[in-house]
């Protein structure tokens, strides 16, 4: 069995964060969420991710801060970034860090396939000691056909 492909979703918009978290989890990825750049950097210091979906406009630390921090990390320890933009990105991004940018609203199927393509091709090192299980493991499917008591 191959190494776990762990994805980090970084977005301050709860609806988008939940949407991406759910569709990626259902695709079989191990997924974590971050609400802003500071949380994202903390998560990447704790765990190795294969792909990070990065929103640009966020409070506390924004997406540019996250990309800048990622650029300082060793290549085999940092995820490939896919940047989610609301419009035209105004600053240049390093192609070493960012695989591509996609505008919101995005095509979910296309985005999932791109994440899968990046995850297949990008290898990161061993998972870090002390990295907790992914948040996607905490979600349990509700059984079909009725309410859960």
């Amino acid at each position: 069995m191959g190494r776990e492909k762990r994805i980090l979703v970084i977005d301050d918009d709860e609806a988008i964060r939940m949407l991406l978290f759910t569709v990626l989890r259902r695709r079989g990825f191990a997924v974590d969420r971050a609400r802003n750049g500071a949380e994202a950097i903390e998560a990447m210091q704790r765990c190795c991710y294969t792909v990070a979906l990065v929103d640009l406009m966020m409070p506390v630390k924004n997406g540019w801060d996250v990309l800048e921090w990622m650029a300082t990390q060793p290549k085999n320890e940092r995820p490939l970034a896919i940047v989610l933009t609301a419009g035209t990105a105004t600053r240049p991004m390093s192609p070493d860090v960012v695989a591509g940018t996609i505008r919101k609203p995005f095509d979910v199927e296309l985005l999932l396939d791109i994440v899968a393509a990046c995850a297949d091709g990008h290898e990161v090192g061993q998972q870090r000691n002390g990295c907790p299980p992914p948040q996607s493991n905490e979600v349990r499917e509700r059984p079909r056909g009725g309410d859960v008591n």
Partner: protein, 151 residues
Amino acid sequence: MANESRVLIVEDNDVLRVMLFTILRHQPLAVDTATTATEAMERTMTCDYALILLDADLPDGEAAEFLNRFDMEHPEAPTFIVAVRSGESQPLLHARVGAVLNKPLEIDTLAELVRECAAVVPPPEEPQVQCPPAESEIRARMDRSGSFYSN
């Protein structure tokens, strides 16, 4: 499909090549890939491409070499060539290059540009005998038959 415009991706970076293939196979296009200029040249000898997406950063000046050879072998081909370059690399100045995109790629822009450029060049009316089914078609067949599953 026989009547879809055919596109060739020439990219040596595995992640980018697979990503480009993934983006373009979602479009109404027949898509092939090549990792080197030599492989790309071989493909152009059997199939007519409406558009070639060429990595300008191929090692050892392969991209420029490919353009020269393509021009020599297919001087009349209406193929539209899009060069994809990183910000730091030298611009690929060649008469055959119709457009230049910078990395990292804006996925929506790329998909739109490729769709529009490919539509300008009509697909061949007669099927090309030597031209094998496109990789995107093979992949679609595998997806339909359930014999391929990513992840």
